[in-house]
């Protein structure tokens, strides 16, 4: 029988790692993710987890050790956030290019400067082009579940790409919630043992990995990563379906909430979806035709799902905790990419919100709705809006 425990998001991710039985874990402490490897250390020390835990001297070495271990053909897990993920940047490309299904839990945190340890998504969003699958959790249960699902997708022969699972700094990493811990036997059935069929470092079978790729071959190698990411779309659906069968919880690539007759749909990710859904309920009581959509899988980006969502509404309001300076929000750009060739499409507006741990309040969301309604009536004046800016200190 699954058991329920009250735990922090970090513990939920550590529990998922324990259930997935990775053979190697390499990690370096960083706020707010430190508790993940800490908890894993306890599991290993108590003999509850049979893994080699490498206590590396940096995140760069954490992911490098993960790459080495995964290349030797074992299941590998790590965790980090923010500056740590940025330090890994170079090696993230290598992990994806070498088709190593490493899974990494990320306590989504802002990036310096100024130094700030609180939540936004700038860390993972900035790694969107590295070839890693990206999942975003709304709550601690999702953090646990998505880590398990991520392993299954990443290790699928049609995919073989690394995966990161983001859950918001402090809002989830350090907040306790009841979490259902699945049975080990059911997880074992779901994941199975990781037995790579492709090339890996095997003393019995000399193979060179990652050799210099000349212009005559490099592009094809990169294309296979593109192809794997495309394959992941179908694999994720299959894995989510199997997940529901095994564990009883249903996951969607995009989860819609009261979108059916909505004129405005607030699109967001992570824990912000919880706030937004509650706000939608409130506005529905005021007879505002509004809905919400939560992007659970950000890479591969759910292009078809966004198109389907767009057909239902007049305005898509993207609420995101990241910014690509000189362009706008990253999710906004992706949504635009999905809709650019659609014959009919809604107005799409971008709202940069809650950076560096700033609370997102109903007042902020009212402002979003006001701007959206105004755009609906009078046309779009500005596309990118910074919400909740304290103009008095600028």
């Amino acid at each position: 029988m699954p058991i329920r425990k009250v735990m922090k998001g970090n513990e939920a991710a550590a529990w998922a790692a324990k259930l997935a039985k990775p053979k190697v874990v390499a990690a370096f402490p960083i706020t707010p993710s430190t508790l993940v490897p800490e908890k894993i250390s306890e599991f290993v020390a108590d003999g509850e987890m049979d893994a080699e835990f490498i206590k590396v001297e940096s995140e760069h070495s954490a992911i490098s050790a993960c790459v080495g271990a995964s290349a030797a053909g074992v299941r590998v897990f790590t965790a980090t956030a923010s500056q740590g993920l940025a330090l890994m940047h170079e090696i993230l490309f290598i992990a994806a290019g070498m088709r190593l299904p490493i899974v990494m839990a990320i306590g989504n945190r802002s990036l310096s400067a100024p130094i700030n340890i609180w939540n936004d998504w700038q860390d993972t969003i900035s790694e969107r082009d590295t070839g890693w699958l990206q999942f975003y959790a709304e709550n601690n249960q999702e953090a646990l579940d998505l880590v398990l699902a991520a392993f299954k997708v990443a290790e699928d022969e049609r995919v073989l790409l690394p995966a990161m699972v983001g859950f918001d700094a402090f809002i989830l990493t350090h907040t306790v919630e009841p979490v259902e811990i699945p049975d080990q036997e059911v997880v074992d059935e779901f994941l199975g043992e990781y037995v790579p069929k492709h090339a890996y470092l095997d003393p019995e079978r000399p193979i060179t990995q990652g050799a210099l790729g000349f212009p005559a071959h490099y592009m094809e190698a990169r294309y296979t990563v593109w192809e794997a990411m495309e394959n992941a779309r179908e694999v994720i659906k299959e894995v989510f379906a199997e997940f529901e069968k095994k564990f009883g919880r249903k996951y969607h690539i995009i989860e819609e909430y009261r979108t059916d007759d909505a004129e405005i749909i607030l699109v967001t990710m992570g824990s912000l979806a919880g706030t937004v859904k509650e706000f939608v309920d409130k506005k529905r009581e005021e007879d505002v035709r509004i809905g919400a959509a939560k992007i659970t899988v950000y890479r591969p980006f759910p292009i078809e799902e966004i198109r389907a969502l767009a057909k239902k509404t007049k305005i898509l309001a993207i609420l995101e905790k990241d910014i690509s300076f000189g362009s706008g929000g990253a999710v906004y750009a992706d949504v635009g990419r999905a809709l650019i060739n659609e014959k009919e499409r809604p107005v799409v507006l971008d709202f940069i919100i809650g950076l560096g741990g700033r609370d997102v309040t109903f007042e902020n969301l009212e402002e979003v709705v006001d701007i959206a309604e105004k755009a609906l009536g009078e046309g779009v004046e500005e596309e990118i809006h910074w919400i909740g800016l304290r103009k008095e200190i600028l």
């Binding site: 053979k23 190697v24 390499a26 893994a51 080699e52 490498i54 206590k55 590396v56 001297e57 940096s58 760069h60 070495s61 954490a62 490098s64 050790a65 993960c66 790459v67 080495g68 271990a69 995964s70 290349a71 030797a72 053909g73 074992v74 590998v76 170079e90 090696i91 290598i94 470092l201 095997d202 003393p203 079978r205 000399p206 193979i207 060179t208 990995q209 990652g210 050799a211 210099l212 790729g213 000349f214 071959h217």
Partner: protein
């Protein structure tokens, strides 16, 4: 042929194949050949971005008859740590008499400079692996730029010598001393001019548990502006002049292999004069470098005396 084979006492089997793409006279390629002779298929290699990336061959070719993983410049220490952990988790015997060898093979830039942190982590955590730094005393793959392992007085493309600044003004970093500061079980210097000594050290590194480190002196005719048929001679002279003495550090004890501690080393100039990279040095410069070499040699002899 039989006689020669017996006299050299090196394994006959080749696991580093012809057709590799090293420059003529490249001592690093020779070093790889010896390492692959020593371990054969019993080794897994990690190589960062360096000359050896090229030497091993572009996809779909490989000169290695052993598993080889190409990794990023500064990651050798971390990657071999990860490979070792995975092999152990899979139940392989790593190191020891018949154990699998996990070998990091990195240049002086990838070790002394950008890879120093990962190397330190590898040594400090006590991984069962071997890190070999092939020392050609500059960033040769990028086109001969100075590294912290470049000696005083050397020309490189970014110590070119000009009206205001003259060549390399810093002495060679003693990476092996940094390695020994980690108090690992086994560290040694080796030279392509003495393959049997190198082979013996490779075998010892395999037997001894924990991390081991070998700094292999590897002349680079392209970067040193030296004749391509002089690499072995240069490597030998580096030892005979005590510019690059061969020694071992084993569980706290120092042992000097070469040159003889009983007589004066050969004058450094014999080593310098065969190389175009030193041709701009003045008499005074040569004195500065000679003095440094002898001071370092005295220090090493003292260590061997006190901790022998």
């Amino acid at each position: 042929m039989e006689n020669i084979r017996r006299r050299l006492s090196l394994p006959f089997e080749e696991n580093f194949y012809a057709g590799h793409t090293a420059c003529q006279g490249c001592a690093a390629a020779l070093g790889l050949r010896y390492v692959l002779k020593a371990y054969g298929k019993k080794a897994i290699f990690a190589i960062p971005a360096c000359c050896s990336t090229i030497i091993a061959g572009p996809w779909p070719y490989s000169a290695f008859n052993a598993p080889l993983f190409h990794t990023a410049f500064e990651t050798t220490g971390a990657v071999i740590g990860g490979i070792e952990a995975a092999l152990k988790a899979k139940g392989y015997k790593v190191k020891g008499e018949d154990g699998i060898m996990v070998v990091g093979w990195a240049g002086d830039g990838g070790t002394a400079d950008i890879g120093l942190q990962a190397l330190s982590g590898f040594l400090e955590r006590g991984h069962d692996g071997l890190y070999i730094m092939y020392d050609n005393e500059a960033y040769m793959n990028t086109g001969i730029q100075r590294s912290s392992s470049t000696p005083y007085g050397a020309w490189t493309t970014n110590t070119p010598g000009g009206k205001k600044h003259f060549l390399e003004r810093r002495h060679k970093k003693k990476v092996i001393d940094i390695v020994i500061a980690h108090k690992i079980p086994y560290a040694a210097t080796a030279s392509v001019a003495f393959p049997e000594d190198f082979m013996r050290k490779l075998k010892k590194a395999q037997r001894i548990e924990g991390p081991s480190f070998i700094q292999l002196f590897a002349p680079c005719p392209t970067g040193w502006r030296s004749p391509t048929d002089k690499s072995i001679e240069l490597a030998r002279l580096a030892v005979q002049t005590a510019y690059f003495p061969l020694f071992e550090y084993e569980n706290g004890k120092y042992k000097i292999n070469m040159p003889s501690t009983k007589k004066e080393p050969k004058p450094l100039e014999e080593f310098l004069k065969l190389q175009g990279r030193f041709k701009y040095m003045t008499k005074e410069d040569i004195e500065v470098l000679q003095e440094w070499v002898l001071r370092e040699w005295e220090e090493l002899k003292k260590k061997a005396e006190v901790f022998g």
